[in-house]
Symmetry: C2
Subunit: 478 residues, 2 copies
């Protein structure tokens, strides 16, 4: 009875993907809604995923000389105003503090939606000579954007992220850094989260407010929609001029610095859910799963079962994040469902008959495959199977990405394809914002990026038919 109810509580993934998504968030105990509208609490199981991503990413940042810092949460209004595009992009969605400590403030302070303005102000103060450069700083923090419609992890008013901000003596160095950080994100998404990516540059319309160029890591979710997982921006001198970030070069002449910023957020958790999940629940990539292996004893109160399970736990937990489920109030069947819902990559079943044969049963979350293995081989087997699971999860997504990426030569094809098989469309673009707007209006799809991997599939814009030499990937987005 219990078991049936447990699975029944999730909406079928193909019936209502949006509902399925929030069911998973709640049911797998990743997050919950709070009394603060549009803001979630990240529960321990969800937070541990974030910690695992953080640990890996932070280490990659440090390898390329990025240092962590912490800048203020509150930004005086006048700083936000300094870069024209930036304030236009962010001012409509910020929260303002105008009273504090029981008094009215002279100047409103906004809660950071991103920190370019306060960081640029400090960089201007600190930078004197070319010898000080580059500044390679990052911060892990919370930011706030007052979204109208919110969804846990994907679009939350408050979210956690990292934002890196660098300044350099030359354009080349800043451009190289922009791409270097993009490649770190790409590595994280592909090799840690097992999600294949499309890398490219945003069209001017879709770039970050204030950036000269925005590079992006695009991914495709279960339903064919796109999720932008991370972006890296080249600012040129767009901020360094209004914020007066200057240095004396080797010739003692003053120059403005070249700047970058790059960010990724807890949105990645939303991506994991939507790229990998299925009707049995969450499916976690082994490298970031808070629990990689769960041991479920069968007939726990029979001779030796508990002891053997504990022994197995002690061996495995040295190397893998392992859980031993000895809860008395649930049947093994309930536990199977429970841990499948939680997306644990490997379940081990061990009962009296297995122990007699010195064996146990390994069950893969991704394929449901059962593998009988000798207890003496368990350590090596687990590592191999975790690797297999990672690769299989990646390949499943890769297959979907390829399968749901089509080519369109004209608007009719574009509309048809997007409506019959929601996914990515490769199509040529003339470069005009009007065509982007028209496509958006007709199909709800936006340009994802000009992929680095440019092909010339035709010489006509998919929208207006005029001359076109840019390949764009289009898709509906989260």
């Amino acid at each position: 009875m219990q078991e049936k109810n447990y699975v029944k509580e999730i909406t079928n993934i193909d019936d209502d993907f949006a509902k399925w998504y929030t069911d998973i968030v709640i049911k797998a105990e990743l997050a919950d809604y709070t009394d603060t509208k549009g803001c979630i609490v990240i529960k321990p199981y969800g937070y541990e995923i974030w910690e695992n991503i953080q640990k890996y990413m932070d280490n990659e940042f440090k390898k390329v000389n990025i240092k962590n810092t912490y800048f203020p949460l509150l930004i005086p209004e006048n700083l936000l105003q300094k870069e024209k595009d930036h304030v236009e992009g962010f001012a409509p969605e910020v929260a303002w503090v105008s009273e504090a400590g029981e008094e009215k403030l002279e100047e409103r302070l906004c809660i950071r939606p991103t920190s370019e303005t306060i960081i640029s102000t400090m960089y201007s103060k600190w930078l004197k000579s070319y010898r000080d450069l580059p500044f390679l700083y990052n911060q892990w923090c919370n930011v706030l954007r007052w979204e109208k419609e919110t969804r846990p992890f994907l679009r939350s008013r408050e979210f956690l992220w990292q934002e890196g901000h660098t300044i350099h003596a030359t354009e080349k160095e800043a451009r190289d850094r922009t791409l270097q950080m993009l490649n770190i994100y790409d590595d994280v998404v592909e090799n840690l989260l097992a999600i294949p990516t499309v890398k490219g540059i945003k069209t001017p319309k879709e770039k970050f407010s204030g950036a000269e160029e925005t590079y992006t890591i695009e991914t495709m979710m279960y339903d064919g929609k796109a999720l932008q997982t991370a972006t890296s921006h080249y600012f040129g001198q767009n901020f360094s001029i209004p914020f007066n970030i200057k240095f004396k070069n080797k010739e003692e002449k003053e120059e403005y610095a070249y700047q970058t910023s790059w960010g990724s957020s807890t949105r990645l958790i939303g991506g994991i859910i939507m790229a990998h999940g299925d009707n049995r629940g969450l499916k976690l990539p082994p490298k970031i799963a808070p629990i990689q292996v769960v041991i479920v004893p069968i007939n726990m109160h029979k001779d030796n079962v508990y002891e053997k399970s504990l022994e197995l736990y002690n061996i495995l937990n040295k190397k893998y994040r392992t859980n031993l489920d000895i809860r008395d109030q649930y049947t093994p069947g309930y536990k199977f469902n429970f841990w499948e819902m939680k997306g644990v990559p490997i379940r081990i079943e061990i009962g009296p008959r297995d122990i007699e044969k010195n064996e146990c049963v390994i069950v893969r979350r991704d394929t449901n495959e059962k593998i009988v293995t000798k207890l003496e081989n368990i350590d090596k087997d687990i590592q191999n199977i975790l690797d297999l699971i990672h690769n299989n999860m990646y390949n499943e997504c890769k297959k979907r990405l390829e399968d749901r990426t089509t080519i369109a030569y004209n608007l009719e094809e574009f509309i048809n394809q997007m409506n019959t098989k929601q996914g990515f469309i490769k199509a040529m673009w003339c470069g005009s914002e009007e065509c982007e707007n028209k496509i958006k209006q007709l199909t709800s799809a936006k340009s994802r990026c000009l992929p680095f991997n440019q092909e010339k599939i035709s010489d006509k814009c998919v929208c207006c038919g005029k001359k076109a030499d840019k390949l764009v990937i289009w898709g509906r987005q989260y």
Copy 2:
């Protein structure tokens, strides 16, 4: 010239300790002031100290089953109002958001000064049965308290901290947890930061707003003033009743949960500065120093010096956080001063003559002692010397703590002692708030705590002379 100026820039520690303190903060590049009044930026060197503390503390938390979470920054006003003492304590110093996304909010949201109210609200929602208990959650986050007077790290409007919040089925379990977490803080302060502590319980007047009992880790700074480094609170059911945190016990009867909370913050960095620093600058405890060893080559451009220095760096950096200072524009003398200011525990000097003899010179930051050592022994020597430095720094503070802790039997003695030798005073207390207020008024000293280590030094209250059976440690505070 350069060298002289460098040291001149710090105020003498005995002339003006407060000025010395802010000089160190700025000069050692730990933090800087920002355009957001009362809020600092933590610079990479300061943030790395925080990361080292965090890493250790977080690991200790996890060993005792604490899980990390993340709750919203913004708390609806009605939640803050629910616990009477709590709102009285915190409401006067919170910042309010009343406009967001270009509209006026229906209900004001406060930026968390601490998260008991929002967390208790969620605990009430999540808790059903005794089987769910305990909840053992922590969060690493920013909080805001609108202080009138601010000082970097010690009293900043925004600061970073961790706040742990647990609920339990029994009073005993909650009380045990309160002390267990206090002991972790004690370990961090003593064994990581090399600062001896006084552990005890706060008087009712000094306890946390809403707590039943507050336990504290008190430390003494260079000038004899006290710094409260961490606190752990037992709430009893003070929050669980107004917030309705109930569960069904084994007998299916409803009960209110027993609650704790405990916190420590970037204030610890202020403690490190003020407990250990001297006229040459910061002095960092080896275990949290971002750089444990700095290698300064002498006559770097002579034969083999750079190569040998690099070789040494490569050996040491595997095991210790090591820096090789090959900056061309500075003399070795300038570099010595620079790294002393930054508080690096060990400096290694290596020049042509050392290399000839297969030696180098180790200089201790704490004692300035020079130790000539054979290059083949360097790895072991460094570990030993780091341990010696830690112990010596601890003992220096211990000596001060003992030296500046006096006993007073009456008010006259109390006033005299506090005015002639600012420090801690041990004195008996009758238990009345009037006596605490009077002492505060006459001496600016507050009760630090009733130390766990209770002695009966007399049976009369130091203030009113009435019967007293409580030993209290008193001191002026940061």
